[in-house]
């Protein structure tokens, strides 16, 4: 069962252009400049962890990619398509809904608060997206929902209601829901931080599994440093809307160069 449409992207060292590119991206809320001319790239199949103090703009980056927010300046490219503009008759014009939906097709997101649909069973939560936006048949969507629930260890709960599930179970359903759309890129925003401590491991195990068995590109905001070390190819440390430091997990967690990174990691290890 392939989890993604991406074929054979072996990892960060793959040839070809980056899958995601931030180019001098500026994001402001009023006077609050959240991202300051941010530049970075993510290759197809790469798994990147974003860390940094509260308010440093990590969530904003994921929300921009999911088109839940728009940039004030600069460009975000996904697979060569801009999220803010599109080409029409050789000219760049503001992106319309059709363009956004085409780009969005490649991206899935799992939210901190799960955001399951309370008016649907677990099954419907997972199948409505594929049926209505990918045009998959009901049978196929059902089969896939069962497979994915098996993967996240919740096959027995397929006809349960979201309110009958624990937070950890809800989050695993949310992961299944995102994967059902066969995204090339999966955005994970502190997916375990709303959970009771004893439920965290189950969700992280599922994500480790996804990381090991698929080549989905992952952008992951997390305070779970052990998990970040296990799954990510690269860690980006953000501070005040800029990348303060980046490197392999071994280097960032083992031998951080920047004082800010050291202070941040020390604070996280003490509280978490």
């Amino acid at each position: 069962m392939p989890l993604s449409d991406t074929t054979g992207a072996p990892g960060p060292e793959a040839a070809g252009g980056p899958l995601i590119r931030f180019e001098k991206v500026v994001k402001r809320y009023g006077d609050n400049v959240v991202l300051r001319e941010l530049d970075f790239e993510v290759a197809a199949g790469e798994r990147v962890t974003l860390i940094g103090p509260s308010g440093s703009g990590k969530t904003t980056i994921l929300r921009l990619l999911m088109t839940l927010e728009t940039v004030n300046d600069g460009v975000i490219w996904v697979n060569g398509d801009s999220l803010s503009h599109m080409e029409r008759n050789g000219k760049l014009v503001p992106a319309n809904e059709a363009h956004l939906r085409r780009v969005r097709k490649k991206i899935g997101m799992v939210f901190q608060q799960f955001n399951l649909f309370p008016n649907m069973s677990v099954r419907k939560n997972i199948t409505e997206g594929p049926v209505h936006t990918l045009g998959v048949s009901k049978e196929e969507a059902n089969q896939r929902a069962e497979d994915l629930l098996e993967l996240v260890g919740l096959k027995a709960k397929i006809d349960a209601h979201p309110t009958q599930l624990s937070g950890g179970q809800q989050q695993r359903v949310a992961i299944a829901r995102a994967l059902a759309m066969r995204p090339e890129i999966l955005l994970l925003d502190e997916v375990t931080s709303a959970l009771d401590p004893e439920l965290v491991a189950g969700v992280l195990d599922v994500l480790r599994d996804v990381a090991q068995t698929t080549d989905i590109t992952m952008l992951c905001v997390t305070h779970e440093m052990g998990f970040a070390r296990d799954v990510s190819h690269r860690v980006l440390m953000f501070d005040a809307g800029r990348i303060a430091e980046e490197g392999t997990p071994e280097q960032i967690f083992g031998d951080p160069r920047e004082e800010r990174t050291r202070t941040f990691l020390k604070a996280v290890l003490e509280t978490g």
Binding site: M66, L68, F111, F117, N119, E128, P162
Partner: protein, 248 residues
Amino acid sequence: MGSIPVDFFIDRFPLYLEGAGTTFTITVLGTALAFVLAMVIGVLGTLRNPVARGVASFYTETFRGIAALVLMFWMAFSIPQITPYELDVTFAAVLALGLNVGAYGAEVVRASINAVPKAQTEATIALNMTWARRMRLVILPQAWAQMLPTFGNLVIELMKASAIVSLIGVTDLTQVARLQGQASGQTILAFGSALVMYFVIAQVLIVGVRLLERRANRRLGRTPPAGGGLLALLRPPTVGATATGGAR
């Protein structure tokens, strides 16, 4: 006195029943019109498009401000004067009540849609749903549970307001009471009987709405407290909402 009040009512029961039927029909038709208007205008009011919002607020401001009674008179008596057409008086009443209550309903719909957590909309965007699918599959089903209690009140209001049709010669419950009062001289009994009938219709409507509420809440995974029967439906529901996906 003894059995006299009962005799009065039993003798005239068929007449009252017919009046109640008319009142009920006008209420149901007016509610149907009000519901459609409330949904359409309410949804328009949630759009970002300024024209859609303009239309919505023009409608709600206008028809909330015009008394249904005046609107009904105007349609029943002025339209035949300025156009070659004549409106059936019952139809005029349904139209007036529907337009009036629909304006209140539209505000309820708009507010209920806006009260669905933004996180739900964001989840539909992450699943790449179109606006229409988002509304149909996610937002309206969740807003529906929130609309129903207020809708219930509006239906009762509409039923009570439907008595205005007696002023243009429709034999609804109020008109029956007035005619029977005049004919028998027993005003207290005549209107007392109508009060009882109005009360019964209201209870039927309340039970209907409560059943819809129960179903809507069950669909949202909120189970009503155990026990019940018809009497429980007459009490306002007390269901604890369990959140799945609050704000960011």
